[in-house]
């Protein structure tokens, strides 16, 4: 049985903000199915009482002194932006006009 359906892949693409084509959906569904069936092997390991590891370095809450240091200028920070306006990143509208009004 397939681990993942075409519809589920379409849902994942939406969640991932990827406007995938119909053709890609078919390809990805088959490939993700193979990969998911392989990685599902982790389920064979008896690990109910094993703590998870998110990170190999035993450091937590690394802080520095609250001192101002040189940083990027607004021009440098905006230098790679596709669109900028008044020292800000310009983005397409976020709210529909009727919602915004």
């Amino acid at each position: 049985m397939a681990a993942i359906s075409r519809e589920e892949v379409a849902h994942l693409a939406r969640l991932s903000r990827l406007a995938v084509t119909e053709e890609e959906l078919g390809t990805f569904a088959g490939q993700l199915d193979v990969i998911l069936q392989a990685v599902a092997q982790v389920g064979e390991v008896a690990a109910a009482d094993i703590p998870p590891t998110s990170h190999s370095v035993p450091l937590t809450n690394v802080l520095r002194e609250d001192v101002v240091t040189p940083c990027l200028t607004p021009e440098e920070a905006l230098s790679g932006a596709p669109d900028a306006e008044e020292q800000r990143f310009r983005v397409p509208r976020i709210l529909d006009e009727d919602v915004a009004s």
Partner: protein, 491 residues
Amino acid sequence: MTDVTAMTATQIAGLVATGAASAVEVTQAHLDRIAAVDGRVNAFLHVDTEGALAAARDVDARRAAGEELGPLAGVPVAVKDVLTTKGVPTTVGSKILEGWRPPYDSTIVQRLRAAGTVMLGKTNMDEFAMGSSTEYSAYGPSRNPWDTDRIPGGSGGGSAAALAAYEAPLAIGSDTGGSIRQPGAVTGTVGAKPTYGGTSRYGLVAFSSSLDTPGPCARTVLDAALLHAAIGGHDPRDSTSIPAPVPDVVAAAKLGATGDLSGVRLGIVTEFGGEGAEPGVTAAFNEAVDTLTKLGAEIVEISCPHFRYALPAYYLIAPSECSSNLARFDGVRFGLRTGDDGNRSLEEVMSLTREAGFGPEVKRRIMLGTYALSSGYYDAYYGQAQKVRTLITRDFTAAFERVDALISPTTPFVAFPLGARTSDPYQMYLADLFTIPSNLYGGPGISVPCGLSEGLPVGLQVMAPTLADDRMYRVAAALESAVGTLTPPTM
């Protein structure tokens, strides 16, 4: 003067230090070599001719002024395109960052500059460091100087190919699941993944933050150690950087080069024995084991029962972290923006931008990670993979109570032909079968040439405990002293 491009970094630094060659001459020789062969290798995405010559002139001026220069001053280096370079294009092998010139240098690049090395340019890689062949680069694959119809490994295939083609004596890579070590193995060069946190991730474009580790690539173990020492050490700008000194990897490489491994215990992982290494790779590895025994090492077999789950755990953990990290590529702050016609919403523009900017492997991993992290699947996939990661770490810890280091083939197969594994993504993943456990554990690993199979290089991997990077350099240098370096056919 003999051809400097055939020299080691150590030799080149000696020439510059004594004034037998200027840094400008050395740099120009490498730029000429790149111009002559890179059309066939495609190791470089960007060659920074002006920047390199300016850096070389600076080294020469400092030497003329009587300044004390570091052990790598005047030596050219190629940098994987995953590290930010101020004002110099940084694409990560992706269309989504095409043309981006970062406003700052990564810590690794800052340290390379401080060491007086000369950055030649940026090297090709699988997009966002996801791949084992460079075939997932948006700018075409790099080719293996041993056989240009074959892959140079990946993701750091450009850095490894540049070394094997004598375009650079040193290179920087990054290793999340084997992206330094596997390209080293298949190109007959040396690649080391330091202890996680031993080299700074500041300015390293993130793929999987708990695994990504920048590190050195070279043609000899000593050169790799010198580069490791130059770039390693604590960085306050990386909160996962370990506040401890870099182990003395240079002294360890020199000690190993004496060819004496008396008193060193090495473990062969039982569980790697039955898994899919090609017969030729296994044969070359077994021969290297005999050599290590002759050098005085004691070899024992060690069971690491959870290593067989490392590949599946990795392909849940790394894509999960990737799906989160790559959310920053939204067409707002840098890089590509597609479909912004004044009518479409932000969400539509983001989706069109990401669809146009990312290649297929990146999309697969983002969706795989999104799946593994989604409610209902989290415990069975991402959560379970994190528990397996704990068990793999315990396997390593138990093994290192009995042996000083573990050894294995670096990768199950020699360089495969271009196109051989692109249609089945999981077949590509198998290239990292032996390298992934160290990434999950966080310990260091190095690949060193150990022989040939079918006329193509085979690498031997040495895995050491966390913060014992020096041990792997000693073993690798000892093997190198017996086997010698591998020389590819003339290009």
